[in-house]
């Protein structure tokens, strides 16, 4: 980790706090500009989305996914961040699609455009989209601090 990484790490932590994410449940690390978030990703308050100026979701699983997607996008815009790697207990990503278990089955979300409930392992109908659009922005926009 270089001194640059420590600064990124501090900014990531501050950013997560400002988005009402419970950082006490996360391991946060940065190595060579790659940000690692591990543990449980959870908001501190139920209306975290509303508090950051987003439309509120009624379904808790959808709320969590929308917040996650928002955070991922914004973290990638931080200056010096090359990649953001998640290893979360309560949400998984495959092929650019986030998935979390909700009360009515699995909930999927990609890029905040579509969402749906499923019942098992299948992800049919979920939008096929990878992270390329986000990656293109890396290092091109100024940090948010």
């Amino acid at each position: 980790m270089s001194s640059h990484d420590y600064r990124i790490n501090a900014e990531v932590r501050r950013f997560l706090v400002s988005r009402w994410v419970d950082v006490s449940l996360l391991q946060i690390g940065t190595t060579n500009g790659v940000v690692y978030l591990m543990g449980s990703f959870e908001p501190l308050v139920e209306d975290a989305l509303q508090r950051v100026g987003q439309m509120q979701e009624r379904d808790p699983a959808q709320r969590l996914l929308r917040l996650l997607l928002l955070v991922e996008k914004e973290l990638r815009r931080l200056r010096g961040v090359r990649d953001v790697v998640f290893n979360l207990r309560n949400a998984r990503r495959k092929g650019g699609i986030w998935r979390v278990k909700g009360p009515q089955g699995d909930v999927f979300l990609a890029d905040g455009k579509k969402k749906q409930h499923g019942s098992g392992e299948t992800t049919q109908g979920a939008p096929a989209q990878d992270e390329a659009s986000d990656d293109e922005r890396t290092d091109t926009t100024p940090g948010t601090r």
Partner: protein
């Protein structure tokens, strides 16, 4: 204090947040304990009882939950149950000073404030009493109940003489100069203490919660209430420093962490926070100094070892860095980020077999990234494992393709 209801209003907000967190984590005793405490103040005594029983079921030696249970019984005017807490095996194991704090509580509920003061005096007269900050606060509180203003003033002077910084805080909550301006705040202090002064822990959580979105001054008000209910100025400055840090006011954060150290030089947390701050500010030597001190105070703190390992690696002190990273993993075998850093460090030192073992373990723990796969490919090449290297490079191109989906 401009609004006497500030601390208790903040509790309502925290109670809602705790409900949501307990729904997700029903087996965390500290969350149950905090909600039990908050429910005492919301008047939901049955709910508080259920939470504290559950906290003690999840963690049978949970001291704070036991103390809060005693305060709940006191709130319900049940001195026999307060005594029962003191007599049960867990109650008997409480440190002597804390037991006296609860004996004062029992005496107050059973026989009144004068009798409770007698308990404190008798304990202070013992050959080797083990005083606690609670005793100072209990004495202040009981003098207020008896309207013995001479005793109140003497106790305030005593506290300020011990810690000058507590003076302005006591003034702000109406315990100094009880004029009309401070009357409302004074009433709130009474209300908070009567319910359970351990609410201070909850108020610090409130401040942390509010810091995410509210004005800093709002948090600071709540923190002052926390300080006046616990006399824990170290924790007060620690949370103030965290708030400055969150808002990127580095100099203010540094100053606050140093204040925290002055109030309790045996606590590792202010040194850790200052070390992290220095690391983020590009001051590695100072960061190492603070973190080494923290490690001497709390040798089994994995985060400190991890950060020391990273900082020493940057300075080229690779054997020392490796030692700290290995210690972090000894303390917490599932510390994946420490294992990742150790794997990279071993690769840098050309210890390929050790490196591949650590990095493969990182993969097995579920961390999937292009960076890791690329580094693994390099290490496999060094070991002559060309097929594994090719596979790792393929995974590096689409790191999510084989993510465990469970």
């Amino acid at each position: 204090m401009t609004n006497e209801r500030t601390p208790l209003r903040a509790l309502g907000e925290l109670l809602r947040a705790l409900d949501a967190r307990i729904e997700r984590h029903p087996n965390y005793p500290d969350l149950r304990n905090l909600r039990g405490l908050a429910r005492i103040y919301s008047g939901d005594h049955d709910g508080a009882f259920a939470d504290l029983v559950e906290a003690l079921r999840l963690h049978s030696q949970y001291e704070a939950a036991l103390v809060n249970m005693a305060w709940l019984h006191a709130e319900r005017r049940e001195p026999d149950l307060v005594r029962a807490v003191l007599r049960e095996p867990r109650g008997r194991r409480l440190r002597p000073g804390l037991r006296v704090h609860l004996q004062v509580l029992e005496a107050q509920v059973r026989d009144g404030a004068e009798a409770a003061l007698g308990v404190l005096d008798a304990y202070a007269a013992q050959p080797r009493p083990e005083p606690e900050p609670w005793h100072e606060l209990d004495r202040l509180w009981l003098a207020v109940q008896l309207e013995r203003w001479d005793l109140v003033d003497a106790q305030v002077r005593r506290l300020v003489a011990q810690q000058a910084a507590i003076g302005p805080i006591l003034h702000q909550v109406g315990l100094v100069g009880r004029g009309s301006a401070g009357r409302a705040a004074f009433a709130t202090w009474n209300q908070c203490y009567r319910g359970n002064p351990h609410v201070a822990a909850l108020l610090r959580e409130c401040a942390r919660l509010r810091a995410a979105g509210a004005a800093f001054s709002d948090c600071e008000d709540i923190l002052r209430w926390s300080a006046v209910l616990s006399l824990d100025l170290c924790d007060f400055w620690l949370v103030v420093g965290e708030q400055h840090d969150f808002e990127a006011r580095d100099a203010d954060a540094e100053s606050a962490f140093r204040q925290a150290m002055q109030f309790d030089s045996r606590r590792a947390q202010p040194y850790i926070k200052l070390g992290q701050l220095y690391a983020a500010c590009g001051r590695p030597q100072e960061a190492i100094r603070e973190l080494q001190h923290a490690a001497s105070l709390q040798p089994r703190y994995a985060d400190v070892r991890y950060l020391l390992g990273l900082l020493l690696e940057d300075l080229g002190q690779l054997p020392e860095a490796e030692g700290h990273l290995r210690t972090a993993l000894d303390i917490n075998t599932r510390y994946t980020l420490a294992r990742l850093s150790l794997g990279y460090l071993l690769a840098t030192r050309g210890r390929w077999r050790d490196a591949v073992k650590q990095l493969e373990q990182v993969r097995a723990e579920g961390l999937v990234s292009s960076d890791l796969e690329t580094r693994l490919a390099e290490v496999y090449e060094q070991l002559g494992r060309h097929e594994d290297a090719t596979l790792a490079r393929q995974r590096a191109l689409s790191p999510e393709s084989d993510t465990d989906d469970g």
